[in-house]
Point group: C2
Chain length 343, copies 2
């Protein structure tokens, strides 16, 4: 049998409630008493039993973490790293994370167990998912925070990548290197992230007063994989007037771009500079290593936990929308353009 609060109380010569109060940092307890209790807790290596705590306090101590299974098993560990960030933060706040994936095509009755059983105090949902889902969950009054997704109509708190600003920074970097003829490749605008990144691209060019050639924007691939970047770049390089730099909407496409450029006989970064977005692992190993925009995944996960926590305890019901900044990571795929083009 395990050690219970009773035994701690007995050994410390106080009542059970006192031990409980110490455990939960509540009310006023004399410093000496608190220390005595803590010492006994330590000696006995006592850990309060979760189920009893939860039953009494009518809280669960759990947060549900939902990912679409598609995202979860994707090659790039994007959402797993977000989860890791959340898990780490949850530890500090003494919460457990229950991870579940949901399938894209979900049927009405297959809500995650923890929702049906009321076994969580809040939900974090990462990545795009079936909206039916979300509307369903909206019905259960439980705090929800979304990560990297922002559905129409629902006013929920969410943690988003500052894609527009990141796109702007990427292009500003290229501009600072002297490039003015800058191309963009990205899948279709149905991906909200892509759309935002492109918006940043346009914004930076406008701000710099640089004319940009519509032929240099290729967005007719539907996906955003390596292969799509490859084909998009092929199209781009077919233009008579070639850009000197290329902003790819993500690193996968940038990787494809490197290949296409090399096949076209271009050296990188000598003949064309390439910048990506995401800072996925392989960018360190591409040839040349890819300059890109780093997305702080662990931080996003941690942020979501903090938000959920606030919602659970302070009952703050304000909707927050956090934009997590993106940082430039310079490697070797971009070069300064010289002689500087006349302006």
């Amino acid at each position: 049998m395990n050690i219970t609060i009773k035994e701690v109380a007995l050994k410390a010569g106080v009542s059970q409630s006192t031990v409980s109060l110490v455990l939960n940092n509540k009310q006023s307890i004399k410093k000496s008493t608190r220390e005595k209790v803590l010492q006994v807790i330590n000696e006995l290596d006592y850990h309060p039993q979760r189920s009893a705590r939860n039953l009494a306090s009518q809280r669960t101590g759990n947060i549900g973490f939902i990912i679409s299974d598609e995202h979860f098993t994707r090659a790039e560990p994007f959402y797993t790293r977000i989860f890791l960030g959340s898990e780490f933060e949850a530890r500090h706040l003494d919460y457990y994370l229950l991870l579940t994936s949901v399938s894209k095509n979900f049927s009405r009755k297959e809500l995650p167990r923890f929702l049906k059983e009321g076994n969580i105090d809040g939900i974090i949902a990462a990545g795009s998912m079936n909206d039916k889902w979300l509307y369903e969950m909206a019905g259960m009054k439980i705090p929800i925070v979304l990560i990297d997704y922002f559905p129409p109509r629902l006013k929920w708190s969410c943690v988003l990548i500052d894609n527009a600003e990141g796109g702007r920074d990427a292009v500003n970097y290229l501009l600072a290197l002297g490039h003015e003829k800058i191309g963009f490749i990205g899948g279709s605008f149905t991906h909200p992230s892509i759309k935002e990144r492109h918006r940043g691209f346009t914004l930076a060019l406008e701000e710099a007063g640089v004319n940009h050639n519509p032929e240099w924007v290729i967005t007719d691939e539907t996906e955003t994989r390596v292969i799509d970047g490859y084909y998009a770049t092929k199209k781009l390089l077919a233009a008579k007037d070639r850009p000197t730099a290329l902003f790819a909407a993500n690193d996968a496409m940038a990787t494809g771009a490197l290949k296409a450029a090399r096949e076209a006989g271009l050296e990188i970064p000598d003949d064309i500079s390439v910048i990506g977005f995401d800072n996925i692992d392989v960018t360190k190993y591409t040839n040349p290593p890819l300059t890109t925009m780093n997305v702080r995944m662990e931080e996003m996960g941690a942020f979501a936990i903090k938000m959920i926590f606030d919602r659970i305890y302070q009952k703050k019901s304000v909707q927050e929308k956090i934009l997590v900044p993106v940082d430039l990571v310079t490697r070797e795929s971009c070069r300064r353009l010289s002689p500087a083009p006349q302006r």
Copy 2:
């Protein structure tokens, strides 16, 4: 407030205990009573509250799932898919999975919370991890099942890939295609999986009575990444007498092998056949698509749950060692050798 067992009992006109008995399929309950109760449960959409259940039954309803963080954030979602298989199975058995990663260099006192708090009924640990860890956990008498790892000295249940048999099958396939000059590339033998796969390789050749050239076995790379496969294959192809087929210890290395072979001016599979191991996602998209050995990851995860479950309930303490079979996936990187070599 939620619906409780009390309300179900009231509405069904029975006692709380009866409802509990129905819920847990215990003792003798008349069929008509059981049905009545189940009907009411359904009507009220009642779900027993986890914390109360756990407190009363002194079980936690949780299983801890541990992965080294390194493995977890690895590009290839190998262990995430195993987790998914476990999670799915756990749902059926009404268990929750608590996922935590541990760092490779772990310090004595940073055991996962759920262990310290005694908040799990069993542990699944996936992938290789610091042995200090495992010895530490061995001290806490809690059922443990390992996946894809088998530490020295400890007699624990585990779910392993049948690497030797898979290697044997791979080579047998090549033999069946008429190849006799077969090469092997794989990182160092410090990886137990690699060692086993190589053992299968040797075994198949011996069984077939085929002589094999030691020059065709390259195992001096320390890692097993794409780049290592690339270099290993370069070495291999430098041999005077080149093999006609190549067994790579995993798909990453096989991918590197494809590249190295093409650079050496060889067509695949016309000039050399290549077979990999793991059936990771990208093998579908390589050029040509890679023939490989499929590892049933989800199944491995599910198996581990079943084993833990048995240990928890039947207190079976026998040590089991499950070898999950591996299946050949034929794509386009191997061809029949003709004319068949004389034997």
